[in-house]
Symmetry: C2
């Protein structure tokens, strides 16, 4: 979780993930869409790999990266522990537009 959030805290790495969400890509293709040089990208890919967010497969000289979404699912789930809080806020904001539902949970 720590490693995943750290990995997500960087714009370049988020860009890579978004690209990989549309399908696999070689390291070179990923370099092409980032404003930094190849070795930098290579290092970002290593971080993503170590966070379990991507997989690599080798094909001839090319390394083909693919996304591994499980850790993202974990973060998503972790955030749900705050979900009641922001839903509360939305309720307040809407001032009970939806009267049917209320009192999901109490904070204290």
């Amino acid at each position: 979780m720590e490693a995943v959030l750290r990995a997500l805290a960087d714009e370049s790495r988020r860009t890579v993930l978004e690209a990989l969400a549309d399908g696999e890509a070689t390291a070179g293709e990923l370099v092409a869409l980032l404003p930094i040089a190849r070795p930098g990208v290579s290092r970002h890919l290593r971080v993503l790999r170590e966070a379990g967010l991507v997989d690599v497969r080798q094909e001839a000289q090319r390394r083909i990266y693919s996304i591994r979404p499980q850790p993202l699912a974990e973060v998503h789930q972790w955030l749900e522990r705050y979900q009641t809080l922001w839903e509360q806020r939305l309720d307040a904001l809407h001032t009970e537009v939806a009267r049917g539902k209320h009192e999901r949970r109490q904070t204290k």
Copy 2:
């Protein structure tokens, strides 16, 4: 988003958020549950504030912090763009289990 993910990438700050999820707390109370000294906590609180993750209210000499869950909702929502991916994986897992197979994943 950038600032929020950065803020979340630190264990101390996540601890603070979890504490505040249970209700408001003074700076002093938050200091008490972290292994670091007061000025450090103060700086973490500043980061959380600037990321929009907490609110402060002053009451006499005390600063009372409360959580602002909206940015968390945004991250939660942002992660949903990957949701189909991890659901795919789960589906795949389930089918494999159902078939009694456990081959390599192949998302071609």
